[in-house]
Symmetry: C2
Subunit: 323 residues, 2 copies
């Protein structure tokens, strides 16, 4: 993501990084080191940036805000560890995932360790409302993952898709902006609600754009093959948009036979091409933009500060990103 | 465990059970149901009982205390889910484990879900010190599991064994008694320290007895085969005691060849018999008793109430249990 605005929280973000990488003495195992390398390898740090901007805008204590931002980035990376295992993904940010290098067991334990570190950092904010929102978010995310893994059908309705991306992505964006607002000594109920709404809406857009880039993105930029979701049997918004205009398309049949090497793979290839050509991508972008606009409306009720301008620019950049 | 004392927290414990089984609306997946069946299938509820007794002894708010006790039992069961997966255990309390029924992936996600529920319950105690201790305990446990899984050698020193059983078992007992004390409106620093010490010490004894029962217990009572730890290559206190008096025993060699069907299995069988016959079990019980005595000394500094008597009886019963 190219950030063109003057970044009001640049210095804070460096302190967040320092806190993330300040390992407790007792952890020097190789897989834990590999986990920290994975965090260091990149990622956009959009979640901690959102937390820092919202908190700064609302006058939150700097130390607690930095701690919160570190907790959220740690939680994000913890979920990636278990997600990559569950999805059997071998690449992330162009690097080998933990499960590509280590056994499932070690990967599970590294994920648990990262969750524990995230919880510890969150508890260091010394804010009960933050801890409550943190725990509530964990529940939403874990329940969403389990519900998704246990689904009997490959086919999603739009409502199910939106529920799923809220659980897996938007809830953590909502935590980032909402918990930052909760750290503010002055934020009242409406301000906190607007901060949460802003985070949730742009989180939804962020995931939709992720799902679009899975079709349209460059393999090298994304670090994974194009059309990966559909090849794994996962339906996302571009496919749902395509099915809206092609209600008779035999999607169930295609997904059921996706492992049939003789015809399955080429039919999936053709479907991916069709989705990219038939307006489904535009439609998905329009839906993402709807979330961005609702997020910006919520943001507009918050104090008019340089941080708010930076938040608006982040929101708009979510649509334009290419990785 | 046969509890012979009048139980001062019997009614509270029923409310803990009710809280554990009050599922949120959004979770009705089969594996989550299987998880709750596993909790319902038994277990001694020693951790929530300890929390309830310590909290009642120190005048903690009843509602928050019940919530804490439910959080701790949930956390305990969450760790069992990932532990059984890591150890590839197929039986627990005589029932099939989750990983025996479901894929590793589903098992990981059920564990995550249970961790999240535990964190949510803990946050419902509305106590920052409790949340801090809860998060610190998660860190100790996760770090211990990861350190153990990454060990390059099968051989433990006594110090390493004690560190490991503190991380995997005693830290949660310490959380149960310490967090309950933290909920007390009157407990000062020394009382909290004594409560934590009591929990930690009897937790150490509890795990040692677990490790003894792995050698001496009845397969039907334990729900797993005798000598299971050693068969899996895991050294525990009875083996360490045996090695103290048999310093030249070729333990490394035996463990390296344990998968060699021709001789490995019969040599392990013989070692298990030798450990049971040569005073190693007695020595291990003596060490467990040392922990119990130190726990009772810490307990003796706490207020002399019916709850304290019940806690002392639990401490002594840890040594006598047979499952």
């Amino acid at each position: 993501m190219n950030i063109t605005y003057a970044d009001p929280v640049h210095d804070y973000l460096q302190q967040v990084e320092a806190l993330i990488f300040s390992q407790p003495d007792h952890s020097h195992s190789n897989p834990a080191t590999a986990f920290f390398k994975l965090i260091a390898s990149g990622g956009k740090r959009i979640r901690p940036r959102l937390a820092l901007l919202v908190g700064s805008m609302l006058g939150a204590n700097k130390l607690y805000l930095i701690t919160l931002a570190a907790a959220i980035e740690m939680l994000h990376n913890a979920t990636l560890v278990h997600d990559d295992l569950v999805d059997n993904s071998l690449l992330r940010r162009g690097m080998a995932t933990l499960n590509a290098h280590y056994s499932s067991i070690i990967t599970v334990l590294v994920g648990d360790y990262a969750f524990a570190r995230a919880a510890k950092l969150a508890s260091n904010t010394q804010s009960l409302p933050v801890m409550n929102l943190f725990a509530e978010t964990l529940m939403i995310m874990a329940d969403g993952e389990l519900t998704q893994a246990c689904r009997k059908s490959d086919i999603f309705t739009r409502a199910e898709y939106y529920r799923w991306i809220h659980a897996k992505t938007a809830s953590m964006f909502e935590l980032a902006t909402g918990a930052a607002a909760l750290l503010s000594p002055v934020a009242h109920t409406e301000i906190i609600a607007s901060a949460r709404k802003f985070g949730s809406e742009i989180g939804m857009a962020f995931q939709i754009v992720d799902d679009i880039l899975d079709f349209t993105g460059n393999r090298n930029t994304l670090g994974k093959p194009t059309g990966n979701d559909l090849r794994q049997g996962v339906i996302t918004l571009p496919t749902l948009c395509y099915l809206d205009t092609h209600p008779d398309y035999p999607i169930t049949d295609i997904l059921q036979h996706k492992k049939d090497k003789a015809t399955g793979s080429s039919r999936i290839d053709q479907l991916i091409l069709d989705i990219c050509k038939n307006g489904a991508i535009d439609q998905a972008y329009q839906e993402a933009d709807g979330f961005i606009q609702r997020g910006l409306s919520a943001l507009a009720t918050l104090p008019d500060t340089p941080e708010r301008h930076a938040l608006a620019e982040i929101a708009r950049s979510v649509i334009c990103r290419n990785n």
